[in-house]
């Protein structure tokens, strides 16, 4: 891990630890919890998109599958929530593994189409399987509990989701700096060169696809329990795009970028409600402006800026 990354990790820890003292009502906590969940999904997605260069427009599908697994198994089959979460994660892992090999042979725009198709299929299934999923209206989800213990108020939810995000960031930073992380970036740079140096590019891509899908599924499960409700929109194309936008805005191939992007795009719509009817327009304009000023994304862009000011001899 580089000095900058260690500093970033420390800063993140301080912010996460300080937040509960600043947040003073359940609504603020709710936003913080959603930020943590989105950030966790995005860190995983950024490993896939930003580092390994494999776009996915279907990750909301995995998120929703995790959520629905939790909803259905706890509600209709009386499973304990942790067991349902694990089953959802495992199911998604198997699904992702099965589709990974054919889909990840595709490149560029074709890969985008392939993953998009996957997401659409999941979304249609969730809408149509009314008996199982409740259809377009969605379904309620019982409250979360761990081994029968269930005092899940704002603070506990925050602790869980912030903890999950922090661990995800830490593991990702460790991975990036390792031979496996280098192999992932290498196959992004040149797949043939990576192959001729001994990198099994197919299995590396698959591993990452499965890992990021599982991360999305776990967050989907937690989200479902937290909000007490889940609808097929969580798995819709729109949500996948939102996730990718967070990654791109924060900065491709930047673990902290994914966190910042998720935070901004989760908080911004809440803040922008002051613009009433013009909310979406302002939102779009701000997004465009940011990408024009910092095309590499916020975090890499700002790091560059600081470096050029600080060390610009």
């Amino acid at each position: 891990m580089s000095a900058g990354q260690s500093a970033g990790l420390g800063l993140l820890a301080v912010i996460l630890a300080a937040l509960p003292f600043v947040l003073d009502n359940p609504y603020h906590f709710e936003i913080a919890i959603l930020v943590c969940l989105n950030a966790t999904v995005c860190v995983g997605l950024n490993l896939l998109i930003g580092y390994a260069g494999q776009i996915s427009l279907g990750h909301a599908g995995f998120f929703a599958l995790g959520g629905y697994a939790s909803a259905i198994l706890t509600l209709s089959y009386d499973w304990p929530p942790l067991g349902a979460l694990a089953a959802g994660a495992l199911g998604v892992a198997v699904l992702a593994h099965v589709v990974a090999r054919p889909i990840l042979q595709l490149k560029g725009h074709y890969l985008a189409m392939g993953t998009l198709g996957l997401g659409v299929i999941i979304s249609i299934a969730l809408n149509r399987e009314v008996e199982l999923t409740g259809g377009p209206d969605g379904t309620i989800v019982p409250p979360f509990s761990v081994l029968g213990w269930m005092p899940f108020e704002s603070l506990e939810w925050y602790a869980i989701t912030a903890g999950l995000m922090f661990v995800t960031v830490w593991l990702s930073l460790n991975l990036i700096g390792s031979p496996i992380g280098r192999a992932l970036r290498a196959l992004h740079g040149s797949e043939v060169a990576a192959e001729t140096l001994g990198v099994n590019t197919a299995s590396h891509k698959n591993l990452l696809f499965v890992a990021s899908a599982v991360l999305a599924a776990v967050c989907g499960s937690l989200y479902a329990h937290f909000s007490g409700f889940i609808t097929p929109t969580e798995g819709a194309f729109h949500h996948s795009i939102e996730l990718v936008t967070m990654v791109v805005l924060g900065g491709m191939a930047s673990v902290f970028g994914a966190v910042v992007g998720a935070a901004l795009l989760t908080i911004a719509p809440q803040v922008l409600t002051v613009f009433h009817d013009y909310e979406s327009i302002v939102f779009g304009a701000v997004l465009m402006g940011m990408m024009i000023v910092l095309p590499r994304g916020l975090v890499p862009g700002l790091v560059r800026l600081v470096q050029s000011v600080g060390f610009g001899r």
């Binding site: 031979p179 992004h188 140096l197 099994n200 590019t201």
Partner: protein, 256 residues
Amino acid sequence: MSRLEVEGLVKRFGPFAAIDQLSFVVEPGTIQSIIGPNGAGKTTLFNLVSGLLHPDAGRVCFDGGEITGRPAHRVVRSGIARTFQNVQVFFNMTVLENVMVGGHLACDRRLLPILLRLPGHFASERRCRDRALALLDQVGLAGLGDRPADALPYGALKRLEIARALAAEPKLLMLDEPAAGLNPAETDAIDTLIQEIAARGITVLLVEHDMRLVRGVSDRILVLNRGRRLAAGRWDEIRHNPEVVAAYLGAEGRNR
């Protein structure tokens, strides 16, 4: 035992055979060049040997063992590394990281020690890094390790690819036009580098259009035309061969 033995190799693209019943051997510790006109099939041959393409017929044996049809990431394990005619540098990484990817197979790649930062892992990383630094030094890129690869000039990229291939600790190094696009001084440096590599016991297979370089370093030369072997031997033996002169060297070859 020959280091590399190619026998009856055929590769077709549609009806057209880019490599057509090609057989040759490369002896250990030698520098062998492959020359021939554009489209003769030189790069295709490299792709077949390194496992990026699969032949339609024929065999490739390395140190006596057959490696025909093995995927590229397995071929390198047996000791074959290569560079690319159109540079395939990892432009999204630093110069040092590029070379470290070359040492991929020698690194500790166990997932758990990596994710949990277990201490044993870092010794392996340090070795990998030190070796990469030494290789950068050897190819003349000392001190540039922390630069992003896309900040290097073209000549340096060619050397970077050589360092990266050497990091895989090959017994056979295949260089696809390492001097293409280089000025005479840079070409001389590549000449020296190739001889140094061979002196360390690494067998070199060189594809190159620069005949001064080829003549200077090669123990043997294989002349390829339309996927077939036209001639083979030392420079003196092939340069007066009328077929070789007609197909490739022209009058230029005779006069050298």
